[in-house]
């Protein structure tokens, strides 16, 4: 071979080797960089995903606990409400016993007398300056309670309140207690026990709650 041509051939071969080496070197570097970046991206996404799932799970845990706390409050509330209702129910049931035995040393007759007198005083106080019919009051009660009211009792009450208080022929359906009204029917005080319980309920409920749950242990 011609000396010059031989050199050229060698040069071509050397250039080719270098070019091949460069192409492969650059390809390896690019692959390495892409894999490195992709792995970092995957790790970052994994981290964010796990944190988001942890937050969701923690929220769910709190929701479960809140629901149980609510159930716990409901337990207490149920116990309280049942006990309060029972106190009111038993009080109404006890009325029959009060009619037979009295209450705290007072006979049922004197209790009715007190209710009639209170009602009569409320009516007369409210109608002092009005018509003459305010001087006559009627007492309506149940058949059962009528036997506890005597003429003498009404006479005494009439004297105390300063107007004529008499028994109405009307009989009402009630556990007990009285309705007192002016004879013209314009003013009426309902002192039946059911009505009194309704009227006094907010304050009574507070009393019952205090006695049942807030009183100091004996």
């Amino acid at each position: 071979m011609h000396v010059g041509a031989s050199e050229i051939v060698e040069r071509i071969k050397e250039d080719a080797r270098e070019e091949r080496a460069r192409i492969l070197r650059e390809a390896r570097a690019e692959v390495e960089e892409r894999v490195k970046n992709a792995k970092a991206d995957i790790e970052e996404r994994k981290k964010r995903f796990i944190e988001s799932e942890r937050q969701k799970a923690a929220d769910n845990k709190e929701r479960i606990i809140r629901a149980k706390r609510l159930d716990a409050k409901k337990f207490r509330w149920d116990v309280e409400e049942r006990a309060i209702k029972r106190a009111f129910d038993e009080a109404l049931e006890r009325i029959q016993h009060v009619k037979e035995e009295g209450f705290r040393g007072k006979s049922y007759s004197s209790i009715l007398a007190g209710l009639i007198k209170d009602a009569a005083m409320s009516i007369t106080a409210g109608s002092e300056r009005s018509s003459s019919s305010s001087s006559e009051l009627e007492v309506a009660l149940s058949n059962e309670d009528a036997q506890f009211v005597t003429d003498e009792m009404l006479k005494n009450i009439s004297a105390e309140v300063g107007c004529d208080v008499r028994l109405s022929s009307e009989r009402i359906k009630t556990v007990g207690g009285v309705i007192v009204r002016r004879s013209d029917g314009r003013i009426e005080v309902n002192n039946t026990f059911e009505e009194r319980m309704k009227r006094l309920y907010p304050g009574l409920r507070e009393d019952v709650v205090r006695v049942l749950f807030r009183a100091r242990e004996a």
């Binding site: 071979m1 011609h2 010059g4 041509a5 051939v9 071509i12 071969k13 080719a16 070019e19 192409i23 492969l24 390809a27 692959v31 892409r34 992709a38 995957i42 996404r45 994994k46 995903f49 796990i50 799932e53 942890r54 969701k56 799970a57 923690a58 769910n60 845990k61 479960i64 606990i65 149980k68 706390r69 159930d71 716990a72 337990f75 207490r76 149920d78 116990v79 309280e80 049942r82 006990a83 309060i84 029972r86 106190a87 038993e90 009080a91 209450f103 705290r104 007072k106 007190g114 207690g177 009194r196 006094l200 304050g203 009574l204 009393d207 019952v208 006695v211 749950f213 009183a215 242990e217």
Partner: protein, 109 residues
């Protein structure tokens, strides 16, 4: 003249050989990239599977914690409610008296 022709032929053969080497190198580089892409796809799939598994584990762990704590709260509440019920029961008579005093219109001393 013959020698010159021979030299030119050798140079052309060398050039052809060089071109082939470069082409092969390019093909080898492309194959490297394809392998890398396949490896990355595999990594991606593995990561998805792992994330799904971890998410399930986390959800189960927190749910169990919530249920355990919730049960403890309920257990305590039931015990307290039972104590409260017993206290209320022991004071029922006093409460009934308090109601009767008011509805019978008696004065509280």
């Amino acid at each position: 003249m013959v020698m010159a022709v021979e030299a030119l032929k050798e140079i052309r053969e060398a050039e052809e050989e060089a071109r082939k080497q470069v082409e092969e190198a390019k093909e080898e580089a492309a194959e490297m990239m394809r392998e890398a892409e396949a490896e990355l796809k595999k990594l991606e799939a593995e990561a998805s599977e792992e994330m799904e598994k971890r998410a399930k584990e986390i959800a189960e762990k927190y749910t169990k914690e919530g249920e355990d704590e919730g049960e403890a709260i309920l257990r305590e509440a039931k015990e307290e409610a039972e104590k409260l019920r017993a206290i209320a029961e022991s004071r029922l008579e006093n409460a009934v008296d308090a109601v009767l005093i008011r509805i019978l219109g008696l004065k509280v001393k």
